[in-house]
Symmetry: C2
Subunit: 287 residues, 2 copies
């Protein structure tokens, strides 16, 4: 069964996040732009905001966990952003970012809990539809999407009102799946298992993203860390693409046969910002 892929690691910052960031920042007026933007992120959103800010001449401060992959920290700095590090276990990035934004009069750019961000990420859906027509492929009637906070999934859900959407999360971090089943927002449990998917470690989804997905009857799936590594290896071998763990979650669900491909199935590979050593280890092993 042929399947289409959206290869978002080929974006300028190696992930889809420039879509929402660009859409949010271009909507700010001149006076607001001058005072700068603040974002908190495990990495890809940071780079997306830094990239958009640099292009628009907007000062950007990014609050990043001290243990974020070095490649993401370096890339954010290289894009000219100021980086403020915090301890993922003892500090609240929300508070640090809110404090910085208040002190500087800067605009906070959330990574998913924002209508502009969601709408920007949704450009994937519009693009996929256009490209399907151009390439004479079936319409994307079923989209499988990795899910952290749900911004990407919500954007695609809104952009493709007639498509079925399935969100995929790492086991133990499948709070969106549980929330959609329950009908209300459930957080990630205490002491969640370790996951290589740094981009999907969101402890709590937002009412905004949850509502979009919930009203459309979106369902979720969980994949194991092994299934994610297998998907990363398959992508390198077969697609010749470098996919980061979180970016490979939707593909993992398909390869593990937790979901069936059909004509018009579109798998979103959401990013490729791997830590080089960790990635080499994944390719180097069979488990």
């Amino acid at each position: 069964m042929p399947v289409a892929f959206k290869a978002e690691m080929l974006q300028p910052v190696g992930a889809f996040k420039i879509r929402g960031a660009w859409h949010r920042l271009t909507a700010l007026d001149a006076g607001t732009r001058e005072k700068g933007v603040v974002a908190f992120s495990s990495g890809n959103h940071a780079q997306g905001v830094a990239w958009a800010a640099k292009r628009l001449g907007i000062p950007a401060v990014i609050v990043m966990p001290a243990d974020a992959p070095k490649v993401k920290l370096d890339a954010t700095l290289a894009l000219g952003a100021e980086v403020v590090k915090y301890d993922r276990k003892t500090e609240s990035r929300e508070k640090i970012a809110a404090h910085l934004a208040h002190a500087r009069g800067a605009t906070l750019v959330p990574s998913f809990d924002d209508a502009w961000i969601i709408e920007g990420q949704g450009s994937i859906g519009i693009e996929a539809m256009t490209q399907s027509v151009e390439m004479k492929l079936p319409d994307p009637v079923h989209v499988i999407v990795p899910c952290g906070g749900g911004g990407l999934a919500a954007g695609i859900t809104l952009a493709l009102p007639e498509s079925e959407i399935t969100v995929v999360e790492p086991e133990g971090w499948d709070d969106m799946r549980r929330s959609l089943e329950a009908g209300w927002i459930e957080p990630v449990g205490e002491n969640p298992p370790p996951t290589a998917c740094d981009a999907l470690q969101t402890p709590l989804v937002s009412p905004l993203t949850f509502d979009v997905l919930s009203r459309r009857g979106v369902t979720g799936l969980a994949v194991t860390e092994f299934e994610i590594r297998e998907a990363q290896r398959w992508a390198a071998r077969t697609l010749k693409l470098v996919v980061e763990p979180g970016g490979a979650a939707a593909l993992a669900a398909l390869l593990a046969r937790k979901i069936e491909a059909r004509p018009g199935t579109l798998v979103v590979l959401s990013g490729g910002n791997v830590d080089p050593d960790a990635y080499a280890q994944v390719l180097n092993s069979k488990d």
Copy 2:
């Protein structure tokens, strides 16, 4: 300095070779097609011919070195071709293929010494020109191309009559470079050094490819095995693309500053069919 890349690992068989194979096979008449085709190849050409033959319903026999990367052997078999193995050190693939073609009345499909093959590979140049216009990039005025037998380079040279072309080979296998300097064809020396570039291990270029490059004043460069590995690592980290050693030769010359990028520089990444274990080792090391 922005540089454009032609990412041929994203082709169906993971390399540019389907271009020439498709062009050659579609030009055969019905009676000729029925008797099948024979090709000899270290791997990517084999897959290209097998892929085109399968789509056109033509029986294909591929003569492959017994030590070709397993991923390439398997992929060729998976495409429905019959594979005949030979010993790279003691047997002549040319003789084996000629014998098979004669015995079956099949058509030999050379990997580079053929006008149709060269013309088909040249579609890269035409595509690059079209895409530059579409994407509002500078015209590809300077194309850097990995070189084995020279079919790809010759095709691009013919397709882009106003562009400068530079061919790149692994050190010790830089017979095209030496030939272009000398003004006549010089073979690879005896006991050439080991190279990871299985796709570029061509002991002798052909008058056809040499003449095209020579008449245009094309020049060549050699890169080291280390420079090639560095290019593979850079491509994974920065472009999120898996590039095989031979496919990374042109990029290696650029990164090693053996050639200067300028507006309109196009780097051909010619393939991505890596042996998974060897590739993991490259990513896992710094040398």
